[in-house]
Structures are given as C-alpha cells and as structure tokens.
Amino acid sequence: MVKDLLLEIKDLWVNFYTYRGVVKALNGVNLKIYKGEFFGLVGETGCGKSVTASAVLNLVQNPGKIEEGEIIFKGKDLLKMSKEEIRDKIRGKEITMIMQYPVSALNPVINNGNQIAESLIANKNMSENEAKKRVIELLREVNIPEPEKIARQYPHQLSGGMAQRVMIAMMLSAQPSLLIADEPTTALDVSIQAQVLSLLKDLISKHKATVLLITHDLSVVAETCDRVGVMYAGDMVEVGEVDQIINNPQHPYTKGLINAIPSDRRKELVEIRGSVPDLVNPPSGCRFHPRCDYVRDLCKSEKPKVLQVEKDHMVACFLFEGGYEGGESGRTD
C-alpha cells in the first residue's frame, strides 16, 4: 500500500524573542504525516510539540517567529500563504484543532448549539434551520445524551468530558482533512479519557480523517496511535511505528522516558539524570548530550543526522551512524 503524504514539515526553526533572550524552541524539525493515520507527538514540557502544531496552523504569535522551513500540506507550502488565505481556506476547514481545556476554548456567552451552527453557516453555506438540524446530528454522533438539551445549554453547564465532545462535534462539522488534538484528554479523568479517546478513534475511521495527537503521555499514544514522534528540547529525536518505539526504542532519550513511566510492566522507575535544558542557551550539538549515558565527543559539537535503523524507524543519534548494529543499544531495561 502506498501511503499518501498529507502534511510534511521540513526543517522547521522557530524562535521566541523574549526579554531573557532568544528561546530556540524548534531546532530544525522534520515530520511526515500520511493520510488516514493517527500520529502521536510525544514529549515533556517545553519540548516544542505544541509549537509545532501552532506553526502548522500559522498560529505562532509574537514574540515567536518561524525562522525557516516549509510546511507542505496537500502539496502547498502553508508558510508561503498569506494570513488571509490560511484563515479563509485552511484553518477551521482543512485543518482544525481541539484544545486541552475545552471549557475555556468554547465561547462562554454563546450556547453550545449556536456555537457549532456558526461554523456550519459560515463555511458550508447552510441555512439556519439546516444548521440546527445538523448540530443535533453531530451531537448525537459524539454520543451526547439529550442533544437537544445540551444544544440549548452554555459551556459552563457542561462537564469536562461533555465539553470536549462538543469541541469534537464542532471540529467534525468542518469535515477537516487533518485534526490536531492538543492534549485532548489531559484535563479529564481516566474513565472519561477512555470514552473520549475511543470516540475520537471511531469517528476518525468513519470520516477517514487524519489526526495529529499531541500528548505528554506515552501510554495514551500506545493505546491510540499508529505512528509516533518523540520530541526533546526542540528536536525530533525518534520517529517510528508505535510498536517499534515502545518495544524497541533506540534513542537514549526515548529509552529513558520509557523507563521513567509508571506502566503496567514496571515496578521501579529509572530517572533520567540532569534536567531539561533552558532553550535560551541550549546545549551544543545534540541537545540531549548532557544527560546521555552514551555521550561521545562528536555529540557535543555536531547535531546528529537522522538515520534509519529499521523500516520506517528514524533516529537522530550518532550511535547509529554506520548502520544499525543492534546489540546492547536495543535494550530497554
């Protein structure tokens, strides 16, 4: 099966010009997302996963600036489009986003139904009555009980799980090609998280959409995604299929991360020594080198190239230069 490329990010650099200095938030990120897949972007606070998503929607705002790179969506470079073009043709239509805190992402003074109807009327040229009918259908589709009642209510009357469903309904109304979900379940309880994630999965396969899921929780990725990219301090350190990353992580940071997660198979946690660097003064060379157990002189001076270690499994690490060796570096414990 040949996979169709939907979105390609090429060598993306983003800086934030703050009073403390220049925060080098993205350090040449490369990423490919194919049609119909559920792609997870994982990393800890400040690794640049949300900045990557905002760059795609052209939402990097002052003091942030996209310095360099290309974001190719359906063959067109989004960074070469004007702000108006992105607003009129891409954002909210081709690419939509759901946020971490649904209650604050919704407009508090418009009732839920009208909020969803608004985009239908504006983007799909529906009449008010058609839109109202469609809203109820959409709410039913996201498993909201008593959709008529919820449509009349306001966002503050909803629980977190319900509000997230309203957000999802709103995003679906646009029938986007790409849905960016930025920590969609972080603010929810586990039982509600499971409901929302399985809903998202069902809808995606039904509507044949593509999802870019941003999360700090590798377990969520393991349960829902097809492929995953691991980010660290503005670098994409490892990309591969979920199975490959979880069962056969190669980059020292990915290994460290997996060993630090309390999971179904782990009773002792192994910490990653040191702490996340300040991106005003990021370490030279590989940004992970001060915390890495396998550090060599080369790591301190040069940025590692992205190397392929197995089919569809890329790692940015000098350990794999000269081909994949396997052996010791393949262990996770």
């Binding site: 998280q193 499971a194 700090h216 309390p262 179904d264 946690l269």
Partner: protein
C-alpha cells in the same frame, strides 16, 4: 504491626445550598499502621484529598472519629503543637504551595521557628542545609526565591519543609502530578529513599493506579466519597474484586496494551456528590449489577482473601 491512625465512619459534608450538601466523604473507616505507605486512589470527586486533609485535622470532619495512636483527635478543637509537628503534608502544586516572597531557607525553616527547635539563625541555616542536602539540593539554594527554581526543585523544597520537623506521618497529595515524567521518577525515588532513612508513614494520594503500584504497599480505591475496595497493593493488582476497580484497570492507558482484551468502558459520568446514588454508589455505572439490592442497600464490608476487603454485593 502498630496502629497509627484509625478512622471510624468519617463523614465530611460541605454546605452547598439550603439543606443541600456536597458529600465529599461519606462514611469511611480505615486503619493505617506505622511504616505503611498507604495509597488513596480515585478519580476527581472521590474524596481522596478531603480524606487526607481530615487525617491531618486540617479540616474538621462532620462526624466520625479519628484515633491517632489511640487518642481521639476529633474532640480537640485545636491540635496541640506537639501533635501538629508529627503530621505534615506535601501539596500537589509546588507553584502555589511555596510563598513567592520568602527565601528557601525561610520556607523550609519556618516550622523550626514555630516549634522553637532552633535557638538562632545559625542553627536554622545548618539544619535547613542538612535537609536540602537530604532532598538532593545544594546550599546555593538557601537564599533563592521559589521563582528561581524548576518544578522538580520546588517539590524538593516542599518535601524538605515537610520532613524537617521529623514528622511521624506525611500526607503526599498527588506530589508528582504537575511534574514531567522524568522528574516524577526522581521525586518518587527520593520519597522512597527518605521513607527508609527516616522511618516514616506515608499517605499517598493519587489518581494514577500504576504510580500507586510503584510506591505504595496498601491501597484503598475510592469512589464518590466511599471506599470500594482496599488491601495490599499487589493483591489488588493481581485480583481486583470491585467492578469499579476492574473498570479502572481496564481504562487506564497502558504502555503495552493487550489488543485482545475487551475494555470495560464505564458508561456515563461520575454522579454528583450532592445527590449520590442510593445503595452502592457505583450501581449507576456498574456492568455487574445484580439487581435491586445494589440500588437500595449499601454493601457491607467483606474480607475476600487475607487482608483484602471489598464493599460489593457480588460477594454476599
């Protein structure tokens, strides 16, 4: 094993509107022994934090008794200082639990002053330095302010502040949930080490089952102000009995998901604690409900295997 805290039928109702109450904790009985690491696990609104604070006498319970070393402390209006010294807490969010305008030495040392444990500033500094070292921080932090520290460092300061008074037990209220996973691992390993070195009892409050498995020895699973099940952590993981515990295990995202097992996805949302369901609190979402008895009668406590207790009609 020596008993340290015993709770008997603890209830905490917060006033809501006229004649309406939020039943945050609704009849909890528990015993915590010396040197236990006891986990309280539940989703939001289960009452785990309220229960932790009641144990510390930070809030008064509406009814019920708390025995601390055999003495009923609910009868005392204000805890004696000596008793207070023995109980400490580490809060969830280290960004709001440290005074932003105080130096680290004052934050960590304020308990020493309150309890007159040091005679002068010099002694205070020595003692604070000792405890900062214990939590893995150097003396260069003594004169800094909280905003100069990272989240992990702040939580270390909060831990040093709690432990400097040499308490008997410490309530850890989601101490790592606002931290990144790599930092979380550090803090948990630190807490484990300190337990061994200082001979402490922990109440560990968390919503994360796998986290509870890493640190606790016993856990109680809470749902809507009541305990569903409690026992040794390993027993509960090997053999969960209550349908809520089973459902919880099945919905927690796993790093190594088993594709074959059908997940029990809980129906609906957690009911409101203002009008919790009658009978078993969980019957509205339970997939193993047996019938009317679940809706009407709250199940009694049953010991199924050694020290593994459950409140469920399935085991009548």
């Amino acid at each position: 094993m020596e008993e340290l805290i015993k709770l008997r039928e603890i209830k905490k109702y917060f006033p809501w509107k006229r004649h309406q109450y939020v039943k945050a904790v609704d009849g909890v009985s528990l015993q915590i022994n010396k040197r236990d690491i006891f986990g309280l696990v539940g989703e939001s609104g289960s009452g785990k934090t309220t229960l932790g604070r009641i144990m510390l006498h930070l809030i008064d319970s509406t009814s019920g008794d708390i025995f601390y070393k055999g003495e009923d402390i609910t009868k005392i209006k204000r805890l004696e200082k000596s008793l207070r010294r023995n109980m400490q807490i580490v809060f969830q969010d280290p960004y709001s639990s440290l005074h932003p305008r105080k130096k680290i030495k004052d934050i960590v040392g304020s308990g020493l002053r309150t309890h007159h444990l040091v005679k002068n500033e010099g002694e205070l500094i020595t003692k604070v330095e000792e405890f900062l070292n214990l939590v893995g921080m150097g003396e260069e932090h003594l004169y800094r302010y909280p905003h100069e520290l990272s989240g992990g460092q702040r939580q270390r300061v909060a831990i040093a502040r709690a432990f400097i008074l040499n308490p008997e037990f410490v309530v850890l209220d989601e101490p790592t949930s606002s931290l990144d996973v790599s930092v979380q691992a550090e803090i948990l390993n630190l807490l484990k080490r300190l337990r061994e070195e200082l001979n402490l009892t922990y109440i560990f409050i968390t919503h994360n089952l796998y986290l509870a498995r890493i640190i606790t020895e016993k856990i109680a699973i809470m749902y809507l102000g009541k305990i569903a099940e409690y026992g040794e952590t390993e027993n509960i993981f090997e053999n969960p009995l209550h349908p809520y515990t089973k459902a919880l295990f099945s919905v927690v995202p796993k790093l190594y998901p088993k594709k074959i097992i059908k997940r029990i996805i809980l129906k609906g949302e957690i009911p409101s604690p203002i009008n919790p369901p009658l009978g078993c609190r969980f019957h509205t979402r339970c997939s193993e409900k047996i019938g009317e008895i679940c809706e009407k009668v709250f199940p009694s406590l049953k010991e199924i295997e050694d020290k593994h207790f459950v409140y469920c009609h399935l085991y009548d």
